[in-house]
Amino acid sequence: MFSAFRTIVHRDLLLAMRRRSDVLTTLFFFVIVVSLFPLGIGPELETLRLIAPGVFWVAALLASMLALEKLFFVDYQDGALEQMLLAPQPLFILVLGKVFAHWLVTGLPLVLLSPLLGLQYDLPGEIIAVMMLTLLIGTPALGLIGSIGAALTLGIRGGGVLVSLLVLPLYIPVLIFGAGAVEAEASGLGGAGHLSMLGAILLLSILAAPLATAAALRISAE
């Protein structure tokens, strides 16, 4: 079971290395969206500090959704998905592996880059740390929840738009608690409560999302 997980993670990372443009698109999208706001709003430090958590989180949400399209589509097209469905390991393990690899290349870079972008918003160090922590917990949850939508819309024409309609509403709790934790920390209330909720969402999605995605893949591949 673990070897199947390792195999799929290794394979997807290798594929991502060979096709870096796909990965970089998501990252640049995040960087550009986050950087547009200070340019548009002007150097009002007070305002920027206020909107930073919301902007970061909405940008992370959109970037994660942008990346979803690729999650299963290539496997579906070249037949690798069929072989995954027929592998003697439980499908949710393979799904978990795919989502994990996907997060490593599309989610983790956002987390690592966010301190640099935080400087544009004049965020103090400890707020940036909390922001990173929320993104670290939140982005895998986004990937897991999104994988259900990606699996359901597989092979449907215009699936990209449909994915956003399906998935964005499900992202709302992550957005609320993610941005909320940073805001609470900034206002001096302490973000621990929000962070625990975010952690709970992540745990729940680790448990439930791969199963739902596996079931959706079986339907879509038929």
């Binding site: 070897s3 199947a4 195999t7 799929i8 394979r11 290798l14 594929l15 060979r18 096709r19 290539v74 097209q77 070249d78 037949g79 690798a80 069929e82 072989q83 995954m84 469905l85 027929l86 592998a87 003697p88 390991q89 439980p90 393979l94 591949a221 038929e222």
Partner: protein, 211 residues
């Protein structure tokens, strides 16, 4: 070993086949034929469990396959229309990944050996996207040489292969059948598959086919 009972499949309003039934035991080969669109691929996908039949069931060793998905998957090798190769991985990487996903512990030397036997010497570490159609097919078929699965379901395995590769594949299939394996295959090419008992099932000719 493989029992198929009164299988029926409809896709939307389209009626593909019904009343398909046969049994296949060790050392037997089933040749599925029928015109284009008669449902051969769908039948094969149903046998694998990728498509749920509208009626009837597929049993492996007496148990319905949908109740023993992982056990059945471990004894099945399916090669469909799509090769399942990743364009950006090399032949060797593709083969290793495919085998590991199927739960086979394959060493790298073994994989090199097998690709050489498939006539891909010198092309093992090229990305699959630069290989020709026939070479890609050879990489996909290389799995047969490493597989320990008793049941092979092969959808048009001979398409795109040259004469030498067809002969090689025929030998591999014949050896598998002779060793007690089960094979279900479709092909439009005339190939001499002689070893073991060859069963034939025709789809779309008279509505149904019993063997």
């Amino acid at each position: 070993m493989l029992e198929v009972d009164n299988l029926q499949c409809t896709r939307g309003d389209r009626h593909l086949f019904s009343g398909v039934g046969f049994t296949l035991s060790e050392g037997e080969l089933l040749h599925l034929h029928g015109h284009n669109g008669s449902g051969k691929t769908t039948l094969m996908r149903t046998l694998c469990g990728l498509v749920a039949p509208t009626e009837g069931e597929v049993r492996w060793k007496g148990e319905p396959i949908r109740r023993q998905r992982d056990e059945f998957a471990a004894e099945l090798l399916y090669l469909g229309h799509k090769n399942g190769l990743k364009d950006d991985l090399t032949g060797i990487e593709n083969l290793l990944v495919a085998c590991r996903m199927a739960g086979l512990a394959v060493r790298e030397e073994q994989a090199w050996d097998v690709l050489e036997r498939m006539g891909l010497r010198g092309h093992e570490d090229l990305p699959a996207r630069v290989l020709s159609q026939g070479q890609q097919k050879r990489v996909a078929l290389a799995r047969l040489l490493l597989s320990r699965a008793p049941l092979w379901i092969l959808d048009e395995p001979f398409v795109g292969l040259d004469v030498a590769a067809v002969a090689l594949l025929e030998k591999v299939i014949a050896d598998h059948v002779a060793a007690g394996g089960l094979v279900v295959l479709t092909t439009h090419q005339e190939v001499a598959l002689t070893s073991g008992k060859v069963k034939k099932l025709r789809l779309g000719w008279k509505e149904e086919g019993h063997v």
